[in-house]
Symmetry: C2
Subunit: 358 residues, 2 copies
């Protein structure tokens, strides 16, 4: 410990020693085993740029051998390379939207080369899971921020996190009274249905997700009704079919629409995955999609390009990136930077599944 | 603190007090604010079943108000509801395979109602990211186990985790010398190409992912060559096309195969997402898929059902579930239960995109 001046990092060393967890080994033990001073060991463990790679490796090996682990809290208190803990709360992972948004979120959190972020993943498949997250998380685990993806947070839940000093950001869900990034789902629905109306369609079906959590598709359904009303068209309730989210739901729903006495000439599906199922049914029925019948979705899911599906694109990765940046602004070392909610634009992507009525 | 006997939980309380982090508030402070004994407060914070719901809520509110947080380590040492920290390392999130496997992993980790697991997510998009994970994780964060999804772990990386006492499980990647769950990708490739051979095809193209990380598809490519050799067919190198993973890659690759002087009568795509792109190109070219030309993929991705694509299915969710169970066995309170690696079966799913040569 003698051959380097300990003063500049004295406090950091003390904090780390006091709070180190694991085997009970101290920073001194690690330094001794590595043959360096405690201050050098500390700098190495904190990824300080002035530590030679070989030295760093020696310290890490010693720390590993002794099962010495610096607690995140110690690191933060030490003011060194502190670690931030961000909880990410998602209802699904196998749906493209959520995975893609999470990739953007990761990128946004680590922009500028920041690697001092731990992402804790909470998969809350249903309302009970969500409630459990908000009840148990704060009292049990120290997180600095929570990002909720694609669902609504109620007032009590938000208040609970705020009381605990946990910043909250919403991405890809409804607009919220706290920092959120989303798209205007009503506008997206209007873009889709207005396109069908402009093509001359007068009998337009709707395939909407019946998942009670899908608020986006719900707003898209409202847009369908509004677009028809503005065009002076009546809503025929037999043209409105609610289906389970996904391809099989869309396929079944399209079958029901084809079985009507007066089938629609165009169909608006509230998500591309539902539209994909509808297209499958139409092809099986031998109908020329985009000619004899039109289909439009929402999202610009990769399947849309594969099916040559006309859709309304939303920027999914970008919503994640923006949410990540919001978290970083809220956790700025000098105190939170004000964060304004953002509504990102959607736009019509014309492909081959829409055309004028036959 | 007086109206309840503190003895039975004495050690637990002491540990929690010593190790509580956050605002610096002690368990006594929380108990005082909630109007209960410290032992009751401790039981409430540990979700002990004998604490009345109203009491528990009061304690949690007091803890929240004081920013009192029990550290995971304290909880573990206390022998109460201890928290386990599992790192999950994935190279992608927007690809269905990874999201679906993660959903299974979550289910496996929480089977039997276990909620005392924190999942730390590490998205390591490239080899550099992976290296950084193995270098930095152990010394900086206390995790009990790491699950690597869909990529190979080298010997040095594994040794490093073992030295730190971090259990490691591999899911959906290569077979490893440590607990792993995967499928036999060579066998999956054989099932696909043998099917085409059995249908009578003699000129079979290959669309293989050029992603250097895709070891699975690589084994599937080897299977293509072996299946042709076993059928007494020469491999024509112009029929082997490497493409970027995904639909656009498959679409371009199929275009190249169609541009050959002697195009293939059947195509094996090493993943359904590549096959989907191939089908798009064939439809645009006006070819009847499953009649004039056959296409088969691997995975049974949801897009396969939508496209009526013949494929070789692999159990993705189940690989995640099994990996989660392996982690639980390795972390059994009484010490690790021996875990045998598993290779789950794949099987042919016959749909409409394959048929005899014209």
């Amino acid at each position: 410990m003698a051959h380097e001046p300990p003063a500049p990092v004295g406090r950091r060393v003390a904090e780390e020693e006091r709070r180190a967890v694991g085997s009970g080994a101290s920073l001194d033990d690690v330094a001794r085993l590595a043959g360096v001073s405690a201050s050098t060991a500390s700098r190495a463990l904190n990824n300080h740029p002035q530590v030679a790679a070989a030295t760093r490796e020696r310290v890490l090996t010693a720390a590993a051998g002794l099962d010495y682990v610096v607690s995140p809290e110690a690191s933060r208190l030490a003011g060194g390379a502190s670690r931030t803990r961000v909880a990410v709360v998602v209802p699904h992972l196998s749906r493209w939207f959520f995975g893609r948004l999470l990739e953007g979120l990761e990128a946004g959190l680590r922009e500028g080369g920041d690697t001092a972020v731990d992402v804790l993943l909470f998969l809350v498949g249903d309302v009970a899971g969500r409630r459990a997250f908000f009840e148990h998380l704060p009292a049990r685990r120290r997180v600095d921020a929570a990002v909720v993806v694609g669902f609504e947070v109620d007032e009590a839940e938000r208040a609970r996190l705020e009381l605990l000093g946990v910043h909250i950001v919403s991405a890809g869900g409804p607009r919220e009274p706290f920092p959120s990034v989303t798209v205007d789902d009503h506008r997206a629905g209007r873009q889709a249905v207005d396109h069908l109306v402009h093509l001359g369609h007068r009998r337009i079906g709707l395939l909407a997700s019946q998942d009670p959590d899908d608020r986006g598709p719900d707003l898209r359904t409202a847009a369908y009704r509004d677009a028809l009303a503005d065009a002076g068209l009546d809503v025929d309730d037999e043209l409105v079919v609610r289906v389970p989210f996904g391809g099989p739901g869309g396929a079944d729903g399209m079958g029901r629409l084809l079985g009507l006495r007066h089938p629609p000439t165009a169909v608006f599906a509230s998500a591309d995955e539902i539209a994909a199922g509808a297209v499958r049914t139409l092809r099986r029925a031998g109908l020329r999609v985009g000619g004899e019948i039109s289909v439009i979705g929402v999202d610009d899911h990769p399947v849309a390009e594969m099916l040559d599906l006309t859709t309304v694109a939303q920027p999914v990765h970008e919503q994640g990136v923006v949410a990540g940046r919001m978290v970083r602004a809220l956790l700025e070392p000098g105190g939170p930077v004000p964060v304004a909610s953002q509504v990102l634009p959607t736009h019509l992507v014309l492909r081959g599944t829409t055309g004028p009525p036959p």
